[in-house]
Amino acid sequence: MNQRPPISRRNLLLGTAAAFGVPAILAGCGSGNPAPAPGGSAGSKLGTVTIGSNASDEIPKKSLETVVKGFTQATTRINTVDHNTFQENINRYLRGTPDDVFTWFAGYRMQFFAEQGLAVDISDVWQEIGGNYTQAFKDQSTGVDGKQYFVPFTYYPWAVFYRKSLWQEKGYEPPATLDELTALAKKMKADGLIPIAFADKDGWPAMGTFDILNLRTNGYDFHISLMGGKESWTDPRVKQVFDTWRGLMEYHQPAALGRTWQEAGQSLAQKKTGMYLLGMFVAQQFPEADRDDLDFFTFPEINPAYGTDSIDAPIDGYMISAKAKNVEGAKALLKHFAQPSSQDIATKLDPGTLAASSKADTSGYSALQKRGAELVSKATHIAQFLDRDTRPDFASTVMIPSLQSFVSKPNEIDSLLASIEKQKANIFR
């Protein structure tokens, strides 16, 4: 299990808890357990830097510890908090007694907190590390005021995953357009497969489908503007997205609202379903031996004006809290995180991620990682996923129930969009 879209983690935990009948998981989350300094010599000149980490799973945790071990300019202390708890408490955390450096997400989610004055401007750090990143990554690290607040560390792309062996056996080819996708789905259905694996019990996976359909239909700029609350949800362009989705619904795995992404991933691994639009972390559901059989293609073109120029590829990284006690040390640590060599360590330990730095050494990548890096390098625009591209309150209290309602009643688009628009007006006021 490695790191993933924010919300998945809890489910992972719940899933594990259910499997083993562990009762206290809800109560058990949280509580920072300060780990003793994994690195840093006693004579460090920059004192102690504390790191607030949400890497509570084994692999990301080990990966962070290993990376920090290589940082010798200051003593470090990592406070690990359960991934989801960290995220839910971020407001209180940043206003209370935060650590110097903390893990967070790029894009709107970063800007939201930077705007509230809860993060330190690190433009000076960027002058030094800027050469390590492409413009797209720099944009995602920049606040609305044009200053940088975030250092990208790793990321993972969303794409349509499938099993090579199954596709070879049946003679399927990755589709390049929506029509080809529909034709392929029809063929799979005739072959007795469920064409598109789908799960939305947790509420967030359907956001990935919405994102990609909107990016393909209306382009990146409209998508970001819609996420920013600047467009109307009753716009015919948005309706078009849901219409397209409704057309594909008959090829989606039924009963999606009772299924977790892990279960849908299993169905792909067991060759019951033909393809699955998800983040690269879907590989977790594949036994080690089958991972080389996993491949993907980017979601096909819908509107030729935009082709396949955008994808969702959420970036994880680090920021400095406004209340940091050791800003100098924190900045030095961020520079360390920006080093290609640091990110190489992380991607080696955690094969579900890619290094954010364009100078990172990709020779150690698995076949899947290499394909992922290639996919992202071809994309002109990188979106961060719906719940990272818009206000957190809008994503969780409006979009999750609304998308679930669409999944259960795909025909009621007009009333749904009217309802989203009204709620949006209440939140973005």
């Binding site: 259910a18 009948g21 809800l26 009963a255 009772g258 299924r259 129930p401 209440n426």
Partner: protein
Amino acid sequence: MAVKTRRYSARDVTILVIGLGVAIAVNVSVIWGPTLASIGLSGTGWNGIGPIEWIGGQNYHDLAAEYPPFWSAVRNNVLWLGFLGLVATPFGLFCAVLLDRRLRMSRFYQSALYMPVVLSLAVVGFIAQLVYSSDYGVLNAVTGLNVDWLGDRAINIWVVMIAAGWRHVGYVMIIYLAGLKAVDPALKEAAAIDGANERQAFFRVVFPTLRPVNVIVLVITVIEALRAFDIVYAINKGRNGLELLSVLVTENIVGEASRIGFGSAIAVILLVISMGFIVAYLSQMFREER
């Protein structure tokens, strides 16, 4: 009659201040303070960080008119109360009455029924998922059905209530069983001698003597219905047909969302509903005392 002025010694006053003062301070700081703060915040739009802005009844209008999960949650809370009160509780009483008759293996039944009570509702939620999951759940596997028990919003609340009821029945049963054991057997004998049949003896004689137990069970049932949270949260975070007021409050306030004003408005609605029951219960109690 001469007016007597009572004089308190310094010691009396000290004791009074400490005795009453502490109680009042605790009461105000942990009960009335937060309650009034919630009511106050419910009239504001606050995200937990920026300035607090007064927007009057806007939140109430938004949630009643434009927030679909709200009515779903109200409906579910009412269903929950109805189900526990009218189905699970009477069934618990029924089990208690049967067990009180010293059936063979009654100890075994008693333990079996009581077992779920030691589980937290969150765990019951995990178990429910193992039973109801459409892909790997026991229920579909055994019956050969292909129903999306937890995902279909027309049925999921019912199957979840059954899981919650599973635990509630045991809880109610054990309380009634204790109550029944305490009923004087002479009463039943007397009723039998007077020619009452079993049913009459139970409803006319035994059940009325259980009155104090009934009150406790009623209170427990109402509390369980209003505080229901963990089971739906464990299943799907209380979304898609499993909305409850308590979940919406948490979702809006505690999560990253931080719609504190809006969430407080939902909390106030929950408070008003709870107050209805509390007032009804207390006025009943005071009337009896008189």
